[in-house]
C-alpha cells in the first residue's frame, strides 16, 4: 500500500473524473472544437493527474501523462495541428491511463513505452516537417542530475510563461518541500488535498517527488518521501505557513527576477548533493529555461533569461485571453464520502418512519394538548423536506453516463465503417446515484446494439433512400414520476421474421408457440437468454452478454424496458426507471393477517366482487379462476395460495362470511393478472430495505419495509408472483391484456391532477395542474402595489398577481398571513399570478362536475373531493375579469353566430371548460362523450366542425376521424384534435388519421384561432 488507502482512493476518484474530462475534450477537439478553453482544460486535467500521481511515485502514470501533456502543450501553443491520428493516440493514451488508474497498485507493471514512443515520434515528426527554427526551439529542456542522469525537473516555455505572468500580477515564487509522512501524514490530510490547498492560494508551476530511494511502493511507509512544489502566490512568506498549515522552515522564497533560472535551479537542486557544473551547448540556448544543477549560475543562462522575458511578453500578448494566474475561486461544493450520504439517506428515511409512527400514535391526543397540532404539522413538513433534500444530494444527472456514449459511438463507427450521428437530449435529468451507476452497462449495450444491429451500412442506407450517416438519439425525460430513457435509431428496424427464425433455430420456442405470439411478444424474445440477432458475430456484439442481461439489470433497478420498431424506419428501446430506489409509493394489503406492501407501479386498478352479484364474478376455466373484466378474461391468483398459507383454503370455503372478494389488477410488462387479497389498506410511502439474503429463495418478495406501526412487512414482487403461480401468458391473453393495458393507460391519462388550495375565505378551490406552470412561496411584504394593482418579482420580471376572492363570488377575509403562495399559470399569454394562502394537496382524480349548483363568473363548477366541496376555477374567465383589455381578445370571436361545433370530450371538466370558451367566442356547441356518440350526432344534426379529444372510451378520436373521412357525406368536415398528448409522434398519428389540426387541450387562444383557420381553409369567412 502506498501511503494510505484513502489517499489513493481519492486519487483514483479524482483521476477518473479528470480522465473523463480529457476524453470528452478530445472528442470535442476532433470535431473541430479547437478553442483554447477546451485544450487548456484537457491540458490541465492531464497535468493534475501527472502531479498527483507523482506523489505516490506512480512512475508509469507520470511517464505517460507527461508525454501526453507535452503533446497537448504543443497543440496548445499551436505548434501542432491535431488530426484524427493524434486524437486516436491521445485517446489510447487516455484509455491506458484509465486502466492504470483503475489498477493503481500494479500500475508500474504496465508497459507504456510504445505509447510514449509513438507520441514522441508524433511530436518530433511534426517538428521535423516544419523546418522552422523557432519551432525546434520549442522542444523542452530537461534537467538532469549529472550524477544519476535521471530526469528530475523539466521547465518548458509554458511554465516559464506562467511564472512570468504571475510575476506581473504581483506573485511571489516559492518552493515548498514537505515530507509526505511527516508533514502531510501527521496532519491527516491527503497529498491531493494538500495539492488543492496550494491551488487555492496560488498556481503550481511544477512539482516532483524525490523517489529515488524508494525501491517499492511499500517502502514509502518507512522512509519519508520528500515532495517539492514550485508555485506562485500573492501571499507573503510569513502567511504561507498559516495558509497551508505547514512548518515555515519548509518554505523558501525564490527570486522572480533575472535570477529566476538560477534560483530555481539552486533551490531545486538542493536535494541533490554534489551537483557539478555541466557544459552547455550553444545551440541549446532557446527561450526555454535551461536548468542545471549548479551551485553557481554562469553567463549564458543569464542572457537567456533576459531573452525569455521579451519572448514571453509576446506570448503574453498573443494569448491575451489567458486568465490571471491568481484566481482564488470560492468553492461552492464540498466533496463528501458516499457512505456518509448513504447514512444520511438512511437516517432521513428512518426519520420519515419515526414521523409516521409519531403521527399515528398521537392522532387521538391531538386535540387534548393545545398547540400540538401546529408542532406536528411542522415536524411533518420539515421531515418531508429533509428527506427530499437528502434524496437530492444523491441525485446525479444522467449526463454522467450519457457523456461516455460519444466515445462508444466514435469507436464503433470507426470499427464498423458506419457513419453515426449521436444526438443527446436531457443530460440534465437526474436519477439516484445508485441507478446512474448501474445504468452504464445496459446503456452502453443498447447503444452498441443500435449502431451495430440497428443502423445499416452507408451503402444500404443510400439504397433505401436514407442519409448515409445514421442517427442515434439518446433522450432522457420525466414522464409521470418516472424517468424514461429512449435509445432511438433510424436504422432498419427489427424484422420479426428474423427473430422467429432465430428463436426456432436456437430452440428457444416451438413453432406452435410462435404462431400464437403477438409482435410485441416476438420482440420480447430478443431479451431471452442466449439470443443474438447479428448475422455474424462481431467483436462489438455477440460477446455472450445479451439483451437478457440488460433486461435483468434494468429490472433490478425497479425499471422496465420496452421495444418498439418499424421495419425500415428504426427501433426504439425505452427504459423506464424510478427516480430513486429508496422510497416508493405502495399499497398495503393483507392476507391471512399478514400485511404486505405492493408497489403501486404495478397496480392498475382494484376490483371488488360481491358474492351473489351475477354480473361480476369469478368464473372457472377447468380449475383456473378467471374474471371477466371489460369483456376480457383476467387470470386470478390468490396471494394466500401462492404464499402457501394453509388457512387460506379454509377461508376460501367460508368466503360467504366476508362477502367481498378484493382483486388487485396488476401489470408486469405486458402481462396482466388479478391478485386476490383479504384486505386493502392505505397507500403508504414505504422505505425499501433490501431483502435479507436468507429470503433469496422466496420468489414473491423484492424487499422489506417497516410500516407506520413499527412492524416489518414484505414488499411483494409481482414478477415473482407470476413465476411462482406459474402463470403462462399465451397469445390471446397477452394481446387482450395489451389492449386492455393501453385502454387503462388512457383512462389514467384522463384522470386529472388537481391542485387543491384555499384563499382567504373558507372555500376550497381546485385548479387543474396542467394549467399550472409552477407554485412559488412568497412573503406578503414582497408584494408591491402600483395603483390598485399588485405585483411581485418573478424571475427578474414584474408579475401581476391577483387575489381570486376579489373577483369571484366567494368569501373574503383579512388574515394577512406572512407566507403566501402564488400560482403561476401556463398556456396563457401575459400570465397573471394567483395569490393563495394555503395549499392543501394535489390529487389525482377523475372529476365529476356537479352540473348547475354553484355558478358564477370565473368558476367552472364544483366537485366533491374527500367529502369537501371544491370550486373549480376557470382561469380564462378569471383573467378576463381581472384584465379585460388583455384577455378579452375580441378578434377571436366570430361575427356570425350560426356555426355549430361538435365537441367530443369524455372528461367533464375539460368538456365544460372548452364549451365555455367556445360559446364565449360565439359558436353553438353540441357536447358528446365519445367517438360513437359523435358519429351518431353527426348523422342527426348538421355540424360545421368537429373538435375531438383523442383518448375516449368506446371509440377514440383517431377512430372517429377515420370514420368521418370514410363517410362521403362527412369527409370534407374540418376535424380538430384536442389533446393532452402533443408529442411529434402523436401529432403525426393524428394527422395520419385525418385530423386537420392538432391542438393542446387547454390553450384557449390557439384553439380559437385554429378554429377560425379551419373554417377559412374551407373558404368560408367567419
Amino acid at each position: 500500500m502506498i501511503h494510505n488507502e484513502e489517499f489513493i482512493n481519492e486519487f483514483i476518484e479524482e483521476a477518473e473524473s479528470h480522465l473523463q474530462m480529457v476524453e470528452t475534450g478530445l472528442l470535442a477537439m476532433e470535431e473541430g472544437k479547437m478553442n483554447k478553453e477546451n485544450i487548456n482544460n484537457i491540458f490541465r486535467s492531464i497535468h493534475s493527474i501527472k502531479g498527483t500521481a507523482g506523489f505516490f511515485g506512480l512512475d508509469r502514470i507520470v511517464e505517460l501523462a507527461h508525454i501526453m501533456e507535452n503533446l497537448l502543450g504543443e497543440v496548445r501553443n499551436e505548434k501542432i495541428q491535431p488530426d484524427s491520428v493524434m486524437v486516436d493516440l491521445l485517446l489510447t493514451g487516455n484509455d491506458q491511463l484509465k486502466a492504470m488508474v483503475d489498477d493503481v497498485f500494479n500500475s508500474h507493471e504496465y508497459d507504456v513505452s510504445k505509447l510514449v514512443e509513438s507520441m514522441s515520434n508524433l511530436m518530433e515528426g511534426k517538428e521535423a516537417t516544419s523546418n522552422d527554427e523557432a519551432q525546434k526551439k520549442e522542444s523542452e529542456t530537461t534537467v538532469t542530475s549529472t550524477e544519476t542522469h535521471e530526469t528530475v525537473l523539466t521547465i518548458n516555455s509554458k511554465q516559464r510563461e506562467q511564472i512570468e505572468d504571475a510575476k506581473k500580477h504581483g506573485h511571489y515564487l516559492y518552493r515548498v518541500k514537505i515530507g509526505i509522512n511527516k508533514d502531510i501524514g501527521a496532519k491527516e490530510i491527503s497529498p491531493i488535498r494538500f495539492f488543492k490547498k496550494i491551488q487555492s492560494v496560488g498556481e503550481i508551476v511544477d512539482s516532483y517527488t524525490d523517489i529515488s530511494d524508494i525501491k517499492s511502493l511499500d517502502s514509502v511507509m518507512d522512509a519519508d518521501v520528500y515532495f517539492s512544489f514550485v508555485f506562485t502566490t500573492v501571499l507573503e512568506k510569513k502567511l504561507l505557513p498559516i495558509a497551508l498549515d505547514i512548518e515555515d522552515d519548509t518554505i523558501e522564497e525564490l527570486n522572480l527576477d533575472e535570477q529566476l533560472s538560477k534560483e530555481l535551479i539552486t533551490t531545486l537542486s538542493e536535494d541533490e548533493e554534489s551537483s557539478k557544473e555541466t557544459e552547455e551547448t550553444e545551440n541549446d540556448v532557446t527561450e526555454e529555461a535551461e536548468v542545471h544543477f549548479e551551485e553557481e549560475q554562469d553567463e549564458p543562462n543569464q542572457e537567456e533569461t533576459l531573452e525569455e522575458v521579451t519572448e514571453s511578453q509576446e506570448i503574453q500578448s498573443s494569448a491575451s485571453a489567458k486568465k490571471p494566474a491568481a484566481v482564488s475561486t470560492v468553492e461552492d461544493s464540498v466533496r463528501v464520502h458516499v457512505s456518509l450520504l448513504n447514512d444520511l439517506l438512511n437516517l432521513a428515511s428512518e426519520m420519515v418512519l419515526g414521523r409516521n409512527q409519531l403521527l399515528r400514535n398521537i392522532e387521538e391526543h391531538r386535540k387534548e394538548i393545545s398547540g400540538l397540532d401546529a408542532i406536528l404539522q411542522n415536524i411533518d413538513r420539515v421531515t418531508t423536506e429533509l428527506q427530499e433534500k437528502v434524496m437530492q444530494t444523491r441525485m446525479q444527472p444522467v449526463g454522467n453516463v450519457f457523456n461516455k456514449m460519444p466515445r462508444v459511438i466514435r469507436d464503433l463507427s470507426k470499427k464498423l465503417g458506419k457513419e453515426v450521428e449521436l444526438n443527446i437530449e436531457g443530460s440534465h435529468v437526474e436519477l439516484d446515484k445508485s441507478i446512474i451507476e448501474s445504468l452504464s452497462d445496459p446503456l452502453t449495450h443498447l447503444i452498441r446494439n443500435a449502431v451495430d444491429h440497428g443502423l445499416e451500412s452507408p451503402d444500404k442506407r443510400k439504397k433505401s433512400g436514407k442519409t448515409p450517416s445514421g442517427q442515434v438519439d439518446l433522450k432522457a425525460y420525466h414522464e409521470s414520476g418516472y424517468v424514461h430513457i429512449d435509445i432511438v435509431d433510424d436504422g432498419a428496424g427489427i424484422d420479426a421474421e428474423k427473430i422467429k427464425n432465430k428463436a426456432l433455430e436456437k430452440g428457444l420456442v416451438s413453432e406452435s408457440d410462435l404462431k400464437n405470439m403477438s409482435d410485441q411478444e416476438i420482440l420480447q424474445l430478443l431479451m431471452m437468454p442466449g439470443f443474438s440477432t447479428a448475422e455474424k458475430i462481431t467483436d462489438v456484439s455477440g460477446r455472450g452478454v445479451g439483451m437478457d442481461v440488460v433486461k435483468t439489470n434494468i429490472e433490478k433497478l425497479g425499471g422496465t424496458i420496452e421495444i418498439t420498431t418499424k421495419l425500415g424506419e428504426g427501433t426504439t428501446f425505452r427504459m423506464i426507471l424510478p427516480l430513486t430506489l429508496a422510497i416508493i409509493p405502495s399499497l398495503i394489503v393483507e392476507v391471512d393477517e399478514f400485511k404486505f406492501a405492493l408497489p403501486q407501479v404495478n397496480l392498475q386498478e382494484m376490483v371488488r366482487l360481491k358474492t351473489g352479484d351475477e354480473t361480476k364474478k369469478i368464473e372457472y376455466v377447468h380449475n383456473a379462476q378467471v374474471l371477466r373484466l371489460r369483456g376480457k378474461l383476467l387470470p386470478i391468483v390468490h396471494l394466500g395460495k401462492v404464499l402457501g398459507l394453509e388457512s387460506h383454503k379454509i377461508k376460501e370455503i367460508n368466503q360467504e362470511i366476508d362477502d367481498i372478494t378484493r382483486i388487485l389488477v396488476l401489470k408486469v410488462g405486458s402481462k396482466r393478472f388479478g391478485l386476490v387479497v383479504d384486505h386493502i389498506y392505505d397507500e403508504e410511502e414505504i422505505l425499501v430495505k433490501p431483502l435479507p439474503k436468507f429470503f433469496k429463495n422466496c420468489q414473491c418478495y423484492s424487499g422489506v419495509t417497516i410500516m407506520g406501526d413499527g412492524k416489518t412487512a414484505m414488499i411483494l414482487d409481482p414478477e415473482g408472483i407470476v413465476a411462482k403461480a406459474s402463470l403462462r401468458f399465451m397469445d390471446e391473453q397477452t394481446k387482450a391484456s395489451e389492449r386492455e393495458a393501453s385502454a387503462q393507460l388512457n383512462e389514467l391519462k384522463e384522470m386529472q391532477n388537481m391542485l387543491i388550495f384555499k384563499c382567504s375565505g373558507e372555500e376550497t378551490f381546485g385548479i387543474d395542474l396542467s394549467l399550472v406552470s409552477r407554485v412559488e412561496e412568497i412573503n406578503s411584504d414582497s408584494i408591491d402595489h402600483i395603483g390598485n394593482k399588485e405585483y411581485i418579482q418573478h424571475r427578474g420580471e414584474a408579475l401581476r398577481v391577483v387575489r381570486p376572492e376579489s373577483y369571484l363570488p366567494v368569501t373574503k377575509k383579512d388574515n394577512n398571513p406572512r407566507k403566501l403562495y402564488v400560482i403561476i399559470p401556463k398556456l396563457v399569454k401575459n400570465p397573471i399570478g394567483i395569490i393563495i394562502e394555503k395549499i392543501h394537496d394535489t390529487i389525482m382524480t377523475s372529476i365529476k362536475l356537479n352540473q348547475e349548483d354553484i355558478k358564477g363568473k370565473g368558476l367552472l363548477g364544483s366537485t366533491i373531493i374527500n367529502d369537501k366541496i371544491v370550486l373549480l376555477i376557470n382561469i380564462y374567465e378569471l383573467f378576463e375579469m381581472v384584465s379585460p383589455e388583455e384577455y378579452e381578445n375580441q378578434s377571436l370571436k366570430i361575427s356570425s353566430n350560426d356555426r355549430t361545433i361538435l365537441l367530443a370530450e369524455d372528461t367533464p371538466f375539460f368538456a365544460r371548460l372548452t364549451k365555455n370558451y367556445l360559446e364565449w367566442a360565439g359558436y353553438h356547441v353540441i357536447s358528446v362523450m365519445n367517438g360513437q356518440e359523435a358519429l351518431d350526432a353527426l348523422k342527426e344534426k348538421p355540424v360545421d366542425l368537429v373538435l375531438s379529444d383523442i383518448q375516449m372510451p368506446v371509440m377514440d378520436g383517431l377512430e372517429l376521424v377515420r370514420n368521418i373521412r370514410k363517410d362521403p357525406d362527412l369527409a370534407a368536415l374540418p376535424v380538430v384534435a384536442l389533446t393532452s398528448m402533443t408529442s411529434e409522434k402523436d401529432r403525426e398519428m393524428g394527422k395520419e388519421a385525418g385530423f386537420d389540426f392538432y391542438e393542446f387541450k387547454l390553450d384557449k387562444a390557439t384553439i380559437l384561432s385554429t378554429l377560425k383557420n379551419a373554417f377559412e381553409m374551407r373558404g368560408e369567412t367567419v
Binding site: P692, C698, T712
Partner: protein
C-alpha cells in the same frame, strides 16, 4: 478461545457464544412471520429501524421445539453485523445464562460422538466445573 462467553439455554441445554459476536439481547421479541420463507426463519424484527432476520436456532440445531406460542414469550440474541454480512441476524433462545470467563485450556474440539446436535455447528466444547458449554460457530450455523 480465551475471553468472555455468553451462555444461554435452549430446550434446557446450555450453549455459549463468544460475547464479542453479540450485539444485544432483547427480551421483548416482537417479530413478523414471513410466509413462504425458510422453515428455519422465525420472522423479521424491527430493531430501531434495522431489519433483523430471526432464526429458529432450535430447529437449525435439530432440537425438538415447542410450539410457537411459548417462543413469543422468550428472548432473543442479536448478533453484530459482520462486515461481509450486511444483514442483521438474531435468534430466539429460552433464557439467557451468565457471562463466563474462559481459558484456552478449558476448550476442546467437539468430541467425535456428538450426535444429538449437528456437530459441525459446535466450534468447541468448554469444560466448566459443573457442566460442558457448547460454543456455537455462528458462521456455520447461519450460513443459510
Amino acid at each position: 478461545m480465551t475471553g468472555k462467553a455468553l451462555s444461554f439455554y435452549l430446550q434446557d441445554k446450555m450453549f455459549g457464544l463468544d460475547i464479542r459476536l453479540v450485539k444485544e439481547i432483547s427480551r421483548k421479541v416482537d417479530f413478523s412471520v414471513v410466509p413462504d420463507s425458510d422453515p428455519n426463519i422465525v420472522g423479521l424484527m424491527n430493531l430501531r429501524g434495522q431489519v433483523v432476520t430471526l432464526f429458529h436456532l432450535g430447529k437449525i440445531l435439530g432440537l425438538e421445539s415447542d410450539d410457537l406460542e411459548q417462543e413469543k414469550e422468550s428472548a432473543c440474541i442479536i448478533l453484530k453485523a459482520l462486515p461481509n454480512q450486511p444483514h442483521q441476524i438474531g435468534f430466539l433462545i429460552d433464557r439467557t445464562g451468565d457471562v463466563i470467563d474462559i481459558q484456552e485450556d478449558w476448550c476442546e474440539k467437539t468430541p467425535a460422538n456428538v450426535e444429538e446436535i449437528n456437530g459441525e455447528y459446535i466450534q468447541e466444547v468448554v469444560k466448566l466445573n459443573e457442566e460442558l458449554l457448547l460454543m456455537l460457530d455462528t458462521e456455520v450455523v447461519f450460513d443459510a
